[in-house]
């Protein structure tokens, strides 16, 4: 990993931990963000960890850009050898794969897709060497995912599949972005997954939809009353495949204020993950299932 810093205008500093995506780079970004938050440097207005990079915004009237740069450099040195262990949460996301709403949407935008004669799931299965969409879905739901960044629009999580790189699902984005994506679509682009928090434009392949809202600016949904956004960078997600009946049931439960997302505390060690991904993942999922 090679760290690179750059000013973004006179009021941002951008730090790239690595050119390529990895859990190591993401951990470094998270620990640097934490270090900046705890250092309470005067003038910092935004602290944004990203997939393999990190950015702060500051008020140059309160701290000179070169001083801010020096502060970041020293924090970067201090966090370089931090133990890669994260106290976090595992969150279950029920997914209705191959649902009628994303299917209707993808049919409307076929001319913007690499393979107009296939659905997004069929295409993703084919180019990733799966025999069928069903086999791709099984792989998608089999391992947990790491929330490597939150953003683009309010509350949208980027998700990194917690398997060896060779097993990661990789797909290109649409040739031209769609102008519409159903709210709560579960998508995939490059090696990253996402859940669209709001309806709108999007370029990721569409695999399914979750009935569980993850952003509520009204703060009327029971589990989003304290804060309108569900996900934080560093959260771990498990997708659980559901059918139409359960989808409808959860939608009703959310409306009635009865739905409680399954969320459990967990500790994630990057070293343990690398030593034995399957065992590390099994332990995380166990925490969720309460065994």
């Amino acid at each position: 990993m090679t760290t690179r810093m750059s000013f973004g205008g006179d009021d941002h500093i951008f730090v790239e931990l690595d050119e390529e995506m990895s859990l190591e780079a993401c951990f470094r970004a998270l620990s640097l963000a934490k270090a900046v938050r705890e250092s309470k440097i005067r003038g910092v207005t935004e602290i944004c960890p990203a997939n393999a990079s990190f950015q702060i915004r500051f008020d140059p009237d309160l701290i000179a850009p070169k001083d801010m740069w020096a502060e970041l450099e020293s924090l970067e040195d201090a966090t370089e050898h931090a133990e890669p262990v994260l106290k976090t949460r595992v969150i279950e996301v029920p997914v209705f794969y191959n649902d009628p709403w994303t299917r209707e949407t993808l049919m409307r935008f076929r001319e913007r897709h690499q393979a107009p004669d296939m659905t997004d799931l069929e295409y993703a299965a084919k180019i990733n060497g799966y025999s069928s969409p069903k086999a791709l879905i099984a792989a998608h739901a089999a391992s947990p995912w790491f929330v490597s960044m939150v953003g683009f629009v309010a509350g949208l999580p980027w998700l990194y599949q917690m398997v060896e790189r060779a097993k990661q699902i990789e797909v290109p984005k649409y040739l031209r972005p769609r102008t519409d994506t159903p709210r709560l679509t579960v998508g995939h682009g490059g090696c990253l997954g996402c859940v669209y928090s709001v309806r709108g434009a999007g370029g990721y392949q569409m695999f399914g939809i979750t009935p569980m809202p993850i952003y509520d600016p009204q703060q009327s949904i029971s589990y989003l009353r304290d804060f309108m956004i569900l996900f934080n960078p560093g959260d771990i997600v498990r997708f659980r495949p559901i059918g139409r009946d359960e989808y409808d049931a959860i939608v009703r439960e959310v409306e009635d204020g009865r739905f409680v997302p399954r969320i459990r505390p967990a500790t994630f060690s990057l070293d343990a993950f690398h030593a034995d991904p399957a065992a590390s993942n099994a332990k995380l999922v166990e925490a969720l299932d309460g065994h």
């Binding site: 000013f7 690595d18 935004e46 915004r57 960044m149 629009v153 600016p217």
Partner: protein, 326 residues
């Protein structure tokens, strides 16, 4: 005290100086695109500089006042009319109960700021009254205004008075061909030296896709990339990078052809390389740029960026003292 929207205009929303602190969760700062004009409008009616106002884009709304109020319109040259009678811009004036405030055609600039003594009193969400329409957050029901909306107005502070005016020397006039000063950096090494030079040499045109999220530019040469094996996770297009956080003012160029400068409602991150960032002192100017005008991007270093910021700060100090003594 309330204001009723008769016609909303093209895109009119409630904005203040924004909601910093949530960009890491994808919630942008929002707020008026032209901070200087927004502050001026508030000072003219005796509000705090950061009170919530209406930001009208290209076309003014038509609103009826429930009670008497002091009002000021700044920013774009969008001539206010009270019951059809012309009123000055950059000057506070009295609106009586039942009167209708409308606007003539846009003469210059792009966004007008309409301040009312007491401020637009929509609920504060995450520390701000600004509208973030993409996230249906803040402002009036999280969206641009519609006909029939009734906007609450706060209690005016003592001392709001009509006839207060910003001197001509403190009213910015956007140049015919705005120059946006840019600090190169971020991922500018992704394009060739010649392409980078071409980007700054060429004249660009503001596209019709120019809104609070970002301004798109067209009409010049596509940029040539330095060949490389794409890093894992970045995507196959040479303009792709591993998705990262986007600075406000950053200039991304998807596919190398059409630059997009992100503004107050920025998408907080994504996977397109950026060539640099428009300096903070020039962000207000972008908010006053109309589609189809020509623009140049001018490279500057940090010292010049900070000097420009200092100069903008001095102008704000001059405005405050002018209106305090005026």
């Amino acid at each position: 005290m309330a204001i009723e929207v008769i016609k909303p205009g093209l895109s009119t929303s409630v904005q203040d100086l924004g909601r910093p602190g949530y960009y890491h969760l994808g919630i942008p700062e929002s707020g008026g695109m032209d901070h200087y004009a927004l502050r001026a409008a508030n000072l003219l009616v005796g509000n705090d500089e950061g009170a919530a106002v209406l930001e009208a884009t290209f076309q003014g709304p038509e609103v009826r006042f429930g009670t008497s109020a002091v009002v000021a319109v700044t920013g774009a040259e969008l001539p206010p009319q009270l019951d059809g009678k012309a009123c000055p811009t950059w000057t506070s004036f009295r609106v009586r109960a039942g009167q209708v405030l409308g606007f003539g055609f846009l003469k210059r600039g792009a966004r007008a700021y309409i301040a009312v003594a007491g401020g637009i009193d929509v609920p504060v969400v995450l520390g701000s009254r600004s509208t973030y329409a993409l996230g249906a957050l803040g402002g009036f029901q999280g969206r641009a205004l519609r006909a029939g909306d009734v906007l609450p107005v706060g209690a005016p502070k003592d001392g709001s008075r009509e006839g207060l005016s910003v001197p001509d020397s403190l009213r910015p006039v956007p140049p015919a061909v705005p120059h946006l000063r840019v600090l190169p950096g971020l991922y500018d090494f992704r394009v060739t030296k010649a392409a980078l030079k071409g980007f700054f040499d060429d004249t660009w045109r503001v596209a019709t896709e120019a809104d609070r999220i970002g301004y798109r530019f067209r009409g010049s040469r596509a940029l040539e990339f330095v060949p490389r094996k794409q890093p894992f996770g970045a995507g196959s297009d040479p303009s792709n990078i591993v998705d990262t956080c986007y600075p406000y003012g950053s200039i991304q160029i998807p596919g190398g052809s059409e630059p997009i400068v992100l503004h107050r409602d920025a998408v907080s991150g994504g996977g397109y390389f950026m060539i640099g960032t428009v300096i903070s002192a020039d962000m207000d100017l972008i908010g006053q740029m109309q589609p189809n005008i020509s623009t140049r991007f001018v490279p500057v270093d940090m010292d010049r960026a900070l000097a420009a910021r200092h100069e903008a700060g001095e102008q704000m100090v001059a405005l405050r003292s002018s209106l305090a003594s005026g």
